[in-house]
Symmetry: C2
Subunit: 363 residues, 2 copies
Amino acid sequence: MNPNDLNERKLQILQAIIADFITTGEPVGSRSLSKSHDMGISPATIRNEMSDLEEMGYLTHPHTSAGRVPSDKAYRLYVDELMDTSQLDEADKQKIRTKLLESRNELDSTIEHAAQLLSDMTNLTSFVLMPRKDESKLKYINFLPVDANTVVLMIVAEDGQVMNRAIRLSSPYTEENLQLMSKVMTHNYMGKSISAVMAMDIIDSFTNDMESLSTLAADVVPSFIKTLEKMLNADLVMNGYSNIFSLPEFSGDMQKTQQFLRMLEDKNRLTDVIVNRDKGVMITIGDENSEDMKDLSLITADYRVNGELVGRLGVIGPTRMKYGKVTSVIKYISDNISQTFELRENNDVKEENNDDGSREDDG
Amino acid sequence: MNPNDLNERKLQILQAIIADFITTGEPVGSRSLSKSHDMGISPATIRNEMSDLEEMGYLTHPHTSAGRVPSDKAYRLYVDELMDTSQLDEADKQKIRTKLLESRNELDSTIEHAAQLLSDMTNLTSFVLMPRKDESKLKYINFLPVDANTVVLMIVAEDGQVMNRAIRLSSPYTEENLQLMSKVMTHNYMGKSISAVMAMDIIDSFTNDMESLSTLAADVVPSFIKTLEKMLNADLVMNGYSNIFSLPEFSGDMQKTQQFLRMLEDKNRLTDVIVNRDKGVMITIGDENSEDMKDLSLITADYRVNGELVGRLGVIGPTRMKYGKVTSVIKYISDNISQTFELRENNDVKEENNDDGSREDDG
DNA sequence: TGTTAGCACTCATGTGTTGAGAGTGCTAAC
DNA sequence: GTTAGCACTCTCAACACATGAGTGCTAACA
């Protein structure tokens, strides 16, 4: 069951099969394999090995007279042991850095650029999850007058996030009450995290506080809670869903394409899946995923903003994908986002970035 | 060329063909037509009429031995003269009202609900354009301290819109400068519309103003401009793109499906198209659209917010769509949004809504 | 003169057949 | 343990063919 079951030659053959299948998408036969990869053994021998590999669960057979196709288990082995994750050349890296630096101080557009880069460079569907905000601490809460019946609620967090929402009041406010409200709420919630505030019994803590605010509070509190909810809600940006049409596994199979796109359109579900993945680079292959993604693979990685707020990005596509290249791209982009949005003394963004641990000093 | 060319019977036949084709998607033949719509004439007669209609450009022939298919011109006639736009029953109306009232005071979710309703009820791809903000007048501009090198720029408009953006400064600010900056900018731009401010020479007006602010201004002004740009940018919400898979014109034709989805994925282009349409309910059919949508139809309508800010919503789908039903739905939804967000003395939202001009008092 | 029945003709579609090609598994020889 | 040879399997594309829906035309009819 573990790779040690496989002798050197079997590994070599398996790797060759995976490599061929990943590039062509066609089941690979013993004959064509012996041609493309000269490994000094005849097709017949390869057939024997293939037969063994199939028995061990690494290969499957679409039908008797077809070539072999790697199983999910084979991809797992490939990803864990065989693949090369340093497949980014300097041109690719340059492209990523340039694009991300274009919008260095605007998180939103950086996120969008990242999604774009990711789908362009992998030719898959990419997604980027906005940073999580559960642990953002509130700094102050403000109400701004708009017109006789409308005010804007503004919530500012310590990390600089601001959320706002217009509120229609059922009765007119006084300037005085508005300010009092701001003060009371700021006092109550300052320094607390969003999730902590959500856990509090907000309405109660209010009616106890000040009788005179009760009518205003009745209007304001529901909106306040909804706004906090919204701040928590992870926003998912997607890109390149029409890339699948260039993949043979989809372009011949309407059913499959439809299923894929319907799955993508259920954003809540997808967000859920992505949010609940492990930290760091995570690759799940085929049936390692839930039922509705059981012939897809998902690769995700995290990025940091201000050293803390954590978002996630990744791609989704058929199990036959260029794991090495894709993983390299994802890693490089996520590292780069993190680096761009790292807290730093001065405002200069380092344009150098290494993903292999070694440091090079300018060039 | 105009409908008067058509005698009563031709019109009747044309309408029957369109009706049949819209529901089945199959070319309709003389024989099956005479069966489904008993109009007291034989298939042969119908054939003669069909032949005339084809000559006049209302029908086409996929191939010799196929039935007739309505041309874009026929749909145009249908939409202008024949269709019935009061196809919403009370249950549908109820559904729309309920859904939209769920989020009556939150523009964003109302917009999303509207898009959802629209795609669900029409089984097409829907879109909603956020309200245009060109004419929003600025109320005040504020800077909020976040940390030593970061401030949040906040722009509040008279209509209650708030936009904000974190800015990293190249050198630390003083509380004093920040407040001065707020004052100067508010003084300069208060009461002006966003588009008017964009037209001003912002940098110049600044350096003239205060020498001491110049370094701060250098950091802040570009972000200010970008934020204004963002406020102007119409945001497009889409829904139901996978609905096309249930339509026979797409589900048999990968090429077409791909083209459609690629077209949708170019949001900027699509936004452009939608923004530049006429006011009110607008229907464009087939080749009335630009090249890349030449076998699609587009139906849009406007909605108002606070009696002024105007957004747009609609659907896109094959020329074979239920124009009557779809138009009714779009109209009803847009009227309902407008009504929900109308400025009004009290906060109660009227739950009654008529789209046919007559009034019914709770029945 | 408009309407209709009859008939020959046209295509798209579905089905069955066939052959080529790629690949396997087995056996026997090296 | 490795390889050549061979029979066998299965997919796929091409082709022929029948079917059926539909048309256009002509001639007869009311």
